[in-house]
């Protein structure tokens, strides 16, 4: 198996950065999951598609806009009408989903190489993300496991809250380094750790 290269390159600098006066406000990392798969249902086939996702991955995604599930090593959420994103630490989820989603139900797209997942965790995660995205990140408006599609200027992003103070941001691979750099820049104020 050939190892996948990170798109972050030299921009990924482990260690403590920015404001070091207090404890790091956030920790930044690239999660590098094995699989990122988009599942699309034909109109009227949402339930069937969700059932297929469940059978292939075990993720029981609720049929509500933006609703999702976040488990250790596996997560999924709706990000657009009739569309869901499934992220799995293991490789091969695309194959399984392809098998599970019948042609009459919908289609899947393997985006495992095409997207990068950047994780921001820590007490100031909402504050830092709010610098870049016009989305209400408060827990009331954005509960744990929910996801959304949004953008930071030219950079399209899908964001899932994977913990009270943790978000996974999915961006296009070609923009990943630029986004990472901007995110680091924005996190300097609160101090950040790259792990």
């Amino acid at each position: 198996m050939v190892e996948r290269e990170s798109p972050l390159g030299q921009a990924y600098k482990p260690g403590r950065h920015g404001n070091v006066a207090e404890a790091a406000g956030v920790t930044l990392s690239e999660t590098r999951p094995g699989s990122i798969v988009e599942v699309i249902a034909w109109p009227g086939n949402e339930k069937t598609a969700l059932a297929a996702i469940k059978s292939a991955t075990g993720l029981a995604l609720p049929d509500r806009p933006g609703a999702g599930v976040s488990r250790e090593g596996r997560a999924g959420y709706g990000f657009a009408p009739r569309r869901w994103l499934v992220i799995d630490d293991r490789e091969g989820a695309a194959r399984e989903l392809h098998k599970a989603v019948a042609e009459t139900t919908g289609v899947i797209n393997d985006l495992s190489h095409g997207r990068a997942v950047i994780r921001i965790a820590g007490p100031r995660a909402e504050w830092v993300l709010s610098k870049l995205f016009a989305v209400d990140f408060s827990t009331g408006a954005f509960p744990v496991s929910n996801g959304c599609s949004t953008s930071h200027h030219e950079i399209f992003a899908q964001i899932q809250r994977t913990g009270k103070n943790q978000f996974d941001v999915v961006v296009f691979r070609s923009f990943a380094r630029a986004f990472w750099t901007t995110l680091c820049h924005s996190a300097e104020e609160v101090g950040y750790e790259v792990s």
């Binding site: 699309i40 095409g114 408060s138 070609s174």
Partner: protein, 1001 residues
């Protein structure tokens, strides 16, 4: 110190002294001082010079409405111009300079302009400087000569040319209730909304919350107002659901209850914390907004009203009460309303001598009389100030009897020596944000002021903003607004206990005092821009009657304070001249920003980082190999990989030659790639491409052309059929986003019944195009798991295999005209596969090539790109008619045959060969005759050119009138900008291997 500092008042910290500089001189102040309060404490009266006449100016206000005392702040060698001294908090190491003076503030040669005051009347420049109609100064030349001097005389502060090194950030915020202003009304509103459990943001432009409570001297709930306010603010900050933003002015009210605010994070400290921005740009989406922005006091317009030492009564009071500085030792007040009496009493209590209170009214309230008695000094009723005297600082005032009907001061003169005059012309609610959000404001005759309009967006008003005149009313309306904003109901109960004198809340309708003697000095309306009452009357005489004409003709209200002090007086003078009421004369709509904001803050994180870099998987490899990178939209692509000492042309010719003679490889990962999937995918492609795709076999690719709805060419590219219902569409790099939106719109809006799903997979794949006669040999060495021979992988065929352990998908396509393959792999394997292919190609001398060589190869083949597909060409213009299916309708098919699109005179694609052996130049035009001497009419233009290694000539593509009909003809290129003219031959755009025998090799 000058003895102006009071020992016991204000919120300054007398234990912490600060040293700062103004105009090269060192001064000291205290923590909590503004530059204005600190300089006043040091006895400085002269702060700056006015715009037009360079008149000496002091400080008029104590807040954001300051028109006169503007300074330049110099920090880390960088200048920030036009900062109001009243807004600038001093800190150690602060360096400031006065503006608009030369050589110095005290002696300014520009003041000579005052001598010509009557010539430099409003709009004088429209009437002169036209210069002679004929001769060397005809046309615009004389004006431009004069303008050179005018531009240098105008302007305020100076800006740097060196880059700002500060950083700026944006913050997106959401709240149930945004309260703007933290005076008594704002505090009460925030408290009420917070107690109801709502998420509240309270924004205050000053460093300390409290608004007028900080200096009013009132008693609220038995406590001094300032103490009450800080207690309330403290209580609020204990709430989890409240965010208190100080040093933050809300400046824009946009649609959807979106408000913009500027937080000055780093201006008041000597050095910013690591990573902290200088300014933070808040974008706040609020459920409901409570506007509690208070009111601005108005000056009175009278001769000599701009002499340093003349200031607003509230400002004088504020300097004493909030900053512990007496603005003068012997102070007179001039007013048309009761509020100045409070100021007089407070100033007197603070230790100033009140010389006189001059009131335009004959009769005043008992409360005012009591205050006057407390303050001491002469009470001069029914009188007005008709002149001031002194040089660069006020020395005295002249008081005369006022005729209330004509507004003229006449009769016996009383001269009173004073060093400060505190004036009040009534109050104007700060309705700016409300006006931005909606309709025209409403005039209130009692208050002689404009009140906010009916809300067009969800906001509520409270306090002086809404016309409240007492602090009791203010607290009640604030609390009620907070409760309503929280979804509750208003209450009629008293909000807090107040201890305040009974005063008449309404001013007399007096705005301007005219001296019966005519010339007793300029009466300023707009202090910064030197607009006088006479200028307003001149505008009236010349028919500039509308308030907008007044503004534009005289520049009234166009200064950095945006007319906060001048709008209403100016309007009143115009109304008076026209013999109509103020509301009949009109009002201007306020525009964002409420007060100036730094450009950097609005760019926020994009300052220094305007657009993200978009990188291919092999980016680092290219850079490490010394590729010269070039921007292509947001992408960075290798232009050439030059060897030491090579020119651009030598490099790309070498690279292109390698492809024609051996094999080369280019990174094509930037191509747009769209997964088109679903049972109706083939039908969908038939509709959007001009040619058929439903007939394409699985495992094959086809070149396709797309038109826009109007029948012109949108884009081209190949689409691969990976499965019965599974297509991979490629687009040009530049058009990827546009094509995606075009397709999504058709599908979503017009053909929702088609079962097709589109997803951008541009980033999923890394692409390497291997081209050249030896391309197959390279693949034979590199690719496992599939054969790549002509049988298995014919032209436009697709196979799957492995390169050094990584899965690849290979399509035999050619943009170069050579035997060529596009090898796609997962983007994370991009560099791995790229390097493996290069290794496999080593025996054949494989080289990577860049965009210039790619361009050369395609020009030789006559393939079109974005340079030709410029949004103005038809398929026929490009001789791609053969791609227009006659068997089916497609997007654009109904519109492409309109007369203008089939006109014989259109410019169409041809090839061009340089006949003089010199380069052609993209951007050159084609003309029929040699146009070195005399310009010739353009018959078309070059779109691309190169040195062709195979033809050993400079060649190019061009769009030329007549197109094919000109093949074989001679013409000329004309490139006057680069002084390149020369003969060319027009030929077919298929320069090289027109039969395509090489791609089938």
């Amino acid at each position: 110190m000058s003895g102006r500092r009071i020992s016991d008042r204000g919120r300054i910290d007398r234990s912490r002294s600060i040293s700062f500089r103004f105009d090269g001189k060192s001064y000291s102040g205290y923590v909590g001082d503004t530059l204005a309060s600190a300089l006043l404490a040091n006895g400085v009266a002269l702060f700056g010079r006015s715009f037009k006449y360079h008149r000496p100016r002091g400080v008029l206000t104590a807040g954001i409405d300051e028109p006169n005392a503007l300074v330049t702040v110099i920090r880390n060698g960088k200048r920030e111009a036009n900062v109001p001294a009243t807004q600038l908090e001093i800190h150690d190491g602060l360096v400031t300079e006065s503006q608009n003076r030369f050589p110095s503030l005290a002696f300014d040669v520009g003041a000579v302009n005052q001598l010509a005051g009557s010539i430099f009347s409003a709009g004088f420049y429209y009437k002169t400087f036209m210069g002679p109609v004929v001769g060397p100064l005809r046309g615009t030349r004389f004006w431009m000569f004069c303008e050179w001097f005018i531009r240098r005389a105008a302007g305020l502060g100076r800006a740097d040319h060196a880059a700002d090194t500060s950083r700026y950030q944006r913050m997106n915020a959401y709240c149930d209730v945004l309260v703007v202003g933290s005076g008594p009304a704002g505090l009460a509103a925030a408290r009420a909304a917070a107690d109801a459990g709502k998420n509240v943001i309270l924004a205050e432009l000053d460093p300390v919350p409290g608004g007028s409570a900080k200096w009013s001297g009132e008693t609220i709930d038995g406590k001094p107002a300032a103490e009450w306010a800080s207690g309330e603010a403290e209580a609020l900050s204990d709430h989890d659901n409240v965010r208190l933003l100080t040093r933050t002015h809300v400046w824009g009210y946009y649609d959807g209850n979106t408000l913009a605010a500027l937080e000055r994070v780093g201006d008041h400290v000597a050095s910013a914390a690591a990573g902290a921005p200088r300014h933070r740009h808040w974008v706040i989406r609020a459920g409901t907004v409570v506007l509690a922005t208070g009111a601005f006091e108005r000056p009175i317009v009278f001769p000599g009203n701009d002499r340093p030492g003349v200031m607003l009564a509230s400002a004088a009071q504020r300097y004493a009460a909030e900053f512990g500085v007496l603005p003068g030792k012997r102070i007179a007040l001039f007013t048309n309303n009761d509020s100045a009496y409070v100021a007089a009493a407070e100033l007197s209590a603070a230790g100033a001598e009140i010389a006189a209170i001059v009131d335009t009214r004959q009769v005043i309230s008992a409360g005012a009389r009591d205050l006057a008695a407390k303050a001491g000094g002469e009470l001069l009723l029914g009188q007005a100030i008709s002149a001031t005297n002194g040089g660069k600082a006020l020395a005295g005032i002249t008081v005369q009897r006022l005729d209330p009907v004509t507004g003229t001061a006449s009769g016996a003169k009383q001269t009173i020596p004073v060093d400060c005059l505190a004036m009040s012309g009534g109050w104007s609610p700060a309705i700016h944000l409300a006006s931005q959000a909606g309709a025209a404001p409403k005039w209130n005759e009692d208050l002689q002021a404009f009140l906010p309009p009916e809300p067009a967006q969800p906001w509520l008003g409270a306090g002086a903003f809404a016309g409240d005149t007492t602090t009791a009313d203010t607290l009640r309306s604030g609390r009620n607004a907070g409760m309503k904003a929280a979804g509750g109901r208003a209450s009629r109960a008293q909000a807090a206990k107040l201890d305040a004198p009974q005063l008449d809340p309404f001013p007399a309708p007096v705005f301007e005092i005219r001296s019966a003697e005519g010339k007793s000095g300029k009466a300023l309306v707009d202090h910064q821009l030197d607009v006088t009452a006479e200028d307003v009357r001149l505008a009236h005489r010349e028919g500039f009657l509308s308030v907008e004409h007044l503004k534009r003709y005289t520049t009234l209200g166009m200064a950095t304070d945006q007319g906060k002090t001048s709008n209403v007086p100016g309007l009143a003078i115009m109304a008076n001249a026209r013999g109509i009421s103020i509301p009949e004369a009109g009002t201007t709509r306020f525009r964002p920003p409420f007060a100036p904001v730094s450009l950097g803050s609005l760019a926020a994180e994009r300052f220094g980082d305007v657009s993200p870099d978009r990188l291919t998987p092999m980016h680092d490899w290219h850079v490490e190999r010394g590729a010269e990178m070039m921007p292509a939209g947001l992408w960075h692509r290798p232009r050439i990989y030059s060897l030491p000492g090579e020119t651009l042309e030598q490099a790309y010719v070498r690279e292109a030659k390698t492809v024609r003679e051996g094999v080369g490889m280019v990174d094509v990962s930037t191509l747009g790639k769209i997964a088109v999937k679903g049972p109706d995918a083939a039908e969908f492609l038939d509709r959007v491409y001009t040619n058929k795709f439903s007939t394409l076999a699985v495992g094959k690719a086809r070149y396709g052309l797309m038109l826009r709805e109007d029948g012109l060419v949108l884009d081209d590219g190949t689409t691969w059929r990976l499965g019965e219902n599974d297509f991979l569409m490629t687009t040009t790099t530049a058009a990827a986003g546009k094509v995606m939106q075009h397709l999504e719109c058709l599908l979503d809006v017009h053909w929702p019944d088609l079962k097709v799903a589109l997803t951008s997979v541009s980033d999923q794949w890394a692409g390497a195009a291997v081209s050249g006669p030896d391309a197959r040999k390279v693949l034979e060495r590199a690719v496992k798991g599939t054969a790549v021979d002509n049988e298995t992988l014919p032209f436009m065929g697709i196979v799957y295999g492995e390169v050094d352990g990584a899965q690849v998908m290979i399509c035999r396509l050619s943009f170069s005209g050579e035997l060529a393959y596009e090898v796609y792999c997962g983007a994370g394997h991009g560099t791995h596969v790229w390097e493996a292919l290069l290794a496999a190609g080593e025996p054949f001398g494989i080289l990577s090539y860049g965009m210039e060589a790619l361009g050369t190869l395609r020009i030789e083949k006559g393939h079109v790109t974005g340079a030709e597909i410029d949004g103005r060409v038809t398929a026929r213009d490009l001789y791609l008619d053969w791609m227009l299916s006659k068997k089916k309708p497609f997007v654009g098919s109904a519109m492409m045959d309109r007369e203008g699109l089939v006109d014989e005179d259109r410019i169409r694609l041809v090839g061009v060969i340089s006949l003089d052996g010199l380069p052609l130049g993209g951007g050159a035009h084609i003309v029929e005759g040699d146009s070195r001497a005399e310009p010739n009419e353009s018959i078309g233009h070059m779109t691309a050119f190169c040195y062709s290694p195979v033809l050993a000539k400079y060649i190019g593509l061009a769009l030329v009138k007549g197109g094919k009909a000109r093949h074989g003809q001679r013409a000329f290129i004309a490139d006057p900008l680069r002084k390149r003219y020369g003969p060319v031959e027009i030929v077919s755009h298929h320069f090289f291997d027109p039969e395509g025998s090489r791609i089938h090799g």
